[in-house]
Symmetry: C2
Subunit: 181 residues, 2 copies
DNA sequence: CGGTTTGTTTTGTCAAGACTGAACACGATG
DNA sequence: CATCGTGTTCAGTCTTGACAAAACAAACCG
């Protein structure tokens, strides 16, 4: 017999507070959906974004199958997207002695942001390459070179300032060690 | 009408094999394709990005049908995407007395960048809303609130610094008005 | 061993949307 | 008027990628 659920009772494995644990408040759902949409803008699967949202809101690591339940998606999707986020350094897989299930928690958020910096740098680099290629032909158009300069300056300044924001926040995080409650 | 060459050559304006005018150097093509990819990341059609790339490299306004030729796409696509970019304020349609064709030139680039700021602000707002909704329940988890704070602070700082970069570059641009050649 | 739990990979379906050719609108022009 | 030149809109095709179900793998248990 496959996964049989004849019992309508929520007698989950060991959680008496299961109801409070699995259901999501309206505001939480809104936040999670918003995160889904946001990450979709960044060309990540919507489920990946929802995963990030859910994990941000979860103080403790969340079990693999609970992720599937709470987001109401297939385990396959959870597997794919957790691995994706793990490789990007956005979330972290944690395990426990004597427990062969996987848990996940959010990382202190650099992953996604470094990605943004990379994108800016790529744009800068592309304009720089173009500028180089333009040099041999000086005659035609100073205006094009000017535009490329603007482009380069903008994206490099942007990437730099983003980096410094990141650094500042990282250092400020240093003191706020998560005290064991 | 701005003649692009000092015309030591006979008029070959209608010649499709006009090497200098219509064909793109390898570096130009690379740049244009890179711009296509970049804008695709920002959920704009690839052709729109190529259009931006081509117009950045074009000192003078480019004719509608030349856009289609040089990018080797249909006129329909040019129509759709030029209008899209026009509405976003990225490019500008210009016309000439006694000439019923449309020409296009790149704008001094604010359009796309303000868009980025908006996205950051949206993320900040979403986290702020969640933080508010979290307040009534003080008991559970200071760590979640901490994470949301981090999120909020990051994106607000980011949007601010981006804005100031934009402002700085705009003021430095003051001299480089669109000069009549 | 067979069976169970847990996560992964594969395969197929479906939707979104980019792009095109064709039809269209509309002014200019002979 | 018929026709051309110019750009727009519509309808259809085709690609891409997210997602789920099912098959699979591997560790564990009896």
């Amino acid at each position: 017999m496959t996964v049989s659920e004849p019992t309508p009772l929520p007698d989950r494995s060991a959680e008496p507070t299961a109801a409070a644990d699995l259901s999501l408040h309206a505001a939480e759902e809104r936040f999670i959906e918003a995160m889904g949409l946001m990450h979709e803008e960044d060309r990540l699967p919507r489920i990946a974004g929802r995963l990030v949202g859910l994990l941000i809101l979860s103080p403790d690591p969340v079990r693999f199958d609970h992720l599937a339940e709470r987001l109401r998606v297939s385990r396959a999707s959870i597997s794919t997207n957790t691995r994706l986020l793990e490789n990007m350094g956005v979330i972290q897989r944690v395990t426990r002695l004597g427990d062969r299930r996987d848990y996940f928690q959010i990382n202190q958020e650099p992953g996604l942001l470094l990605r943004i910096v990379d994108r800016f740098r790529a744009r800068q680099a592309s304009a720089e390459e173009m500028k180089q290629a333009l040099l041999p032909e000086p005659g035609a158009d100073g205006i094009v070179a000017e535009r490329l300069d603007w482009f380069i300056r903008f994206y490099s300044t942007l990437a730099d300032s983003l980096n410094s924001v990141l650094a500042a926040m990282a250092s400020r995080d240093g003191n706020s060690g998560p005290d064991p409650a």
